[in-house]
Each structure stands twice: as structure tokens, then as C-alpha cells.
Symmetry: C2
Subunit: 286 residues, 2 copies
């Protein structure tokens, strides 16, 4: 089960998930000038970030939107980045948030668990229902692949659907979370967590503790650290016994050199320092 | 407003939306042998389908999953297909069902409303909330682009989230539909419909009539015709005054030559015949 690999990576390297949401505007001038095509620019930036942060990162999350934005060139950079991560034996979470059914979902599974865009975990959106998740289950069961399904995000708009009260007296995200946990129980790793995890944003501490308690077999992918406002204290309640989740930071790490007003040539070193600080900050509160 | 273009296309050509969900297994042997790379095979198949059915189709829906499945080669076929549709001035619905927030959604907007993968309409999934739709609104308002947001799908799993009863006494999909209609009222075309439409599957007749009544300004993209079980009688209640929605058929049209046990070389003619039949079947019941 892939979740055991991720669990072990967290044990040895900590909770940090480095988000490669690489926009061209994040890339230092000198690199932009060095190459004539976008895919080389983005790939070299990503490669440096990966090399610099790997000691402090249990996994890397690649947000495909940033690559789709640049069309075929962007997706070539996406492929090269995934290839490099696989070569380095890093764990890849492809943040694709797909959500579709039957044959269409089978095609997404093929697209993101095989071939050019092969990753270890993908994120999924559950709006269409559990049959939008089924087509991926064969990969989870037999091919060392995993899923993170959107449960409760921390954006303002989460209230529009996820926070609606149901007639049963719970929030929609609670209902979704329960369904994911129940489904996930069929795909447990030796570590006790399921290869079907949940995306759960930084929350209030009480709510986080409640989520962690009720979703005792669900591993969490936690976005929203750093640039999006969450800190170590916010994520701590979602973790457990020094494991149970990974915490993503993208801009906080990629743009550390700008924030520090540092030399652009040393963006890798700044990213490394930021990843280390984040790892320690989380380590200190759990 | 782009919705006026779609409205006019329905007026002149009818409700059929041809779905280019082109799997390699749908493509006749002779075409597979003709080319050495996947992108040429898929593109030639699509081109023939487009040329053959354009007289009876108000728009074309391209399901990106089928192209992502084949990696960069597949996405090259996707780009070539969109380029060709644009060259022929056909209306393109990119069925991408993306759903993410802020900067990530901006990147998806850039990716699918500009550049290599430019389309006229895209589909979106609303699970993260209305702020996952906002980043697209500038394109809707100022750049002749449109959206179809998932409201009520007709798959079995729709019951898992969309059909949950809320404490307010309505289904989740009703709540979502209302939000979409309210948001859409700021983007009305001259035709009276909004450039923010809804994806609504074939339903029971009563429910369809209710949806049409309560969503009086929402144009519907209706999947599920043909291969997925819906017929003209099922879609009729969702339409209005000979307009108000487009009805997608993919496999029913792409695979018409197999169903008819026809000559594979004539797959275009069979597709044309099927599109014509579908147009007439819908025309007869509205």
C-alpha cells in the first residue's frame, strides 16, 4: 500500500509537503533568460527546489493547473518534473482535483497513474458521488496508488456547499468525510491509515481535533500553510502521534527568496531554509 | 455574451451537442494503421466526425479526460481538435470539470480560455464553493467565454452528495442550482439566458419540468443521451420553446458505425445519420 510509503516518509523526514505550484512570475529573472522555452525554465526551477528541499520534505505536490496554464509546453514541464521526482524516488501527489464518472474517470486514472503523467497519489473532487471514485480503486488495491479526496477545504467559499447543514444534523463535509473513511477501510496499510486519504484545510483547533478523532483511519493532506494563512498551531490538531498527515506549502517555499529579499541565484537555499523552518515549527507543536 | 451565440446555434441547428470523447478503441482499424502516432489518429477521427455532423450539431463537447489518458500525445490531439473546431467556427465546450480556488483557478482559466487549449465554454465542479467560480468571471463578462457548472448529474452516485436533504428542506443540488442561477443573473445574454449555465442530467419528467421552471435563466448542458440511457422524452422537460439547452451524445454518435454493423470506412456517414436522427427525435417531442 502506497500509504505505508508516505507514512514512513513522514516518520523519517517530517510533515512537509513541498508544493510545486510554479508560476512563471515566481521564477528569478536569470533563469527566465537562460532558456528559450517555458518547459526548460519551469523544469530547472522545479529541479532546484526539489534538490534543495528533499531532505525536509516527505513528499511533493504538483498542482497541474499551473502547467495546464501554459498549454503543451507547460505540460511538458509537468511531465519532466514528475519524471525527475520519480527518478529521485520522491513521493508525488498530483493535485488534479478531477471528478467524473465511469469511463471518463477510467481515462483520468490511466492518464495520471500511468504514462507521461504518472504520479503516486492524485486528488479528487467528490461532488458527483462515490461512483466517481470507484474507477480508481483497482489502482489503489493492486498498483500502489493512492487518493486524497476533498473533504473540507479552508477557503471562504467552503460555506457554500461543504458547510451546509443536512437534515440529519451534520455538515456536508462530515457526511463526505464519513463516506471516505468507510470506503477507505478497505484499503488500509500496515500503518493503520488508508491509501484513500482526505484533503482537509487548516481549521479551528476544536474542529481539527474533532476531525482527527472521527477520521481515525484517514490520512490528511493539509493545504493552506504559510502564504494561505495557516501556521503550525493550526495544523497540529489534525496530526497524530507525529504522523497522520502531510502539510503543504507552495508559495511560502518557492518564494522564500523574494520574501527574504535574498539573492535570486540562491532561491534554492532560501527554499531549503524555509522547508527546514516549517518542518521544525510543526515538529515543535506536535 | 457567448450564450447568445449558443442560443442562435440551437435555433438554427437544433439541440445536439456532439461529444468528442474519443477513445482509441472507438477508432476503426484502418485509421489506426494509417498513422504512426496517436495524435494524428485521434485528430483524423475527430475531424471526420466534426465534418460529418456539423450540419446537425449546435456545438461540440470535448471531454479532456480521453486526451489526458494518452499524455502529451493525447493533449496534442486535443489541441488540434480545438484548433480545427475554432477554424470551422464551431462552438466548443471543454468538459474539464475543474474545481479549485484563487490563483489555481486563475491558472485553469488561463489554460482553457487562452492559448493551446482555448475553448468557448468550460465545465466546472462546485464542491469548493462559489469562490472557485469567481476567477473565471472576468472571462465571462469581458471575453466572450462561458461556464457550465455541475448541478445535478444522473449517475447512481449523485445520491451521495447532490441528493442529500438539507436542514432547509431541499436537496443539495437545488441549493447549488439556485446559487448558480443567482450568480448567472449578472451575466445574461440578449436571449434571456446566462453565460453561466448548469450541467443537468436526464431526469424524471416531473423533476425536469421543475428544474426548468425554477432555473428560468439557466441554460442547460444535458449529458446522458443515448449510450447512457436517456432518450428524447427524458430531455424534453429540460428544454423550453425549442431552446434552453443542448443535449450531449458521445458514444451514440462516435460508435454509430459499430452499432449498425456498418463499414468502418464510413464511420463519418453513420455518425452523421445518428446526429440527424437525434436532432429529429428531440425536435419531435418539444
Amino acid at each position: 500500500m502506497i500509504i505505508d510509503r508516505l507514512y514512513e516518509a513522514v516518520e523519517s523526514k517530517g510533515h512537509v509537503c513541498v508544493g510545486l505550484d510554479t508560476d512563471l512570475s515566481y521564477i528569478p529573472e536569470f533563469l527566465l533568460k537562460k532558456h528559450t522555452n517555458i518547459s526548460d525554465v519551469i523544469f530547472e526551477f522545479n529541479k532546484t527546489i526539489v534538490d534543495s528541499t528533499a531532505d525536509y520534505a516527505s513528499c511533493f505536490k504538483v498542482q497541474i493547473a499551473y502547467y495546464e496554464a501554459y498549454g503543451l509546453e507547460g505540460l511538458l514541464a509537468y511531465k519532466k518534473t514528475l519524471d525527475y521526482l520519480r527518478e529521485k524516488k520522491e513521493i508525488i501527489i498530483a493535485d488534479i482535483k478531477r471528478g467524473d464518472i465511469s469511463k471518463t474517470a477510467e481515462m483520468y486514472a490511466k492518464g495520471h497513474f500511468e504514462g507521461d503523467f504518472e504520479s503516486d497519489f492524485i486528488t479528487l473532487s467528490p461532488y458527483m458521488g462515490l461512483d466517481s471514485i470507484e474507477p480508481y480503486l483497482d489502482y489503489v488495491k493492486n498498483k500502489e496508488k493512492g487518493l486524497f479526496v476533498l473533504v473540507r477545504t479552508s477557503n471562504e467559499g467552503a460555506k457554500d456547499i461543504q458547510f451546509i447543514d443536512t437534515a440529519e444534523g451534520e455538515k456536508i463535509y462530515t457526511t463526505v468525510g464519513k463516506k471516505i473513511q468507510t470506503l477507505g477501510e478497505n484499503y488500509l496499510g500496515k500503518c493503520g491509515y488508508s491509501s484513500i486519504g482526505g484533503v482537509v484545510g487548516c481549521t479551528h483547533a476544536d474542529e481539527g481535533r474533532e476531525m482527527r478523532k472521527t477520521h481515525d483511519k484517514t490520512f490528511f493532506l493539509i493545504p493552506g500553510y504559510g502564504a494561505q494563512g495557516g501556521g503550525a498551531d493550526d495544523v497540529a490538531p489534525l496530526l497524530r502521534d507525529g504522523n497522520g498527515g502531510v502539510v503543504n506549502s507552495s508559495r511560502g517555499i518557492l518564494l522564500a527568496y523574494k520574501k527574504a529579499d535574498g539573492k535570486p541565484e540562491e532561491f534554492g537555499a532560501y527554499a531549503r531554509e524555509e522547508a527546514k523552518k516549517m518542518k521544525e515549527a510543526i515538529g515543535n507543536v506536535i
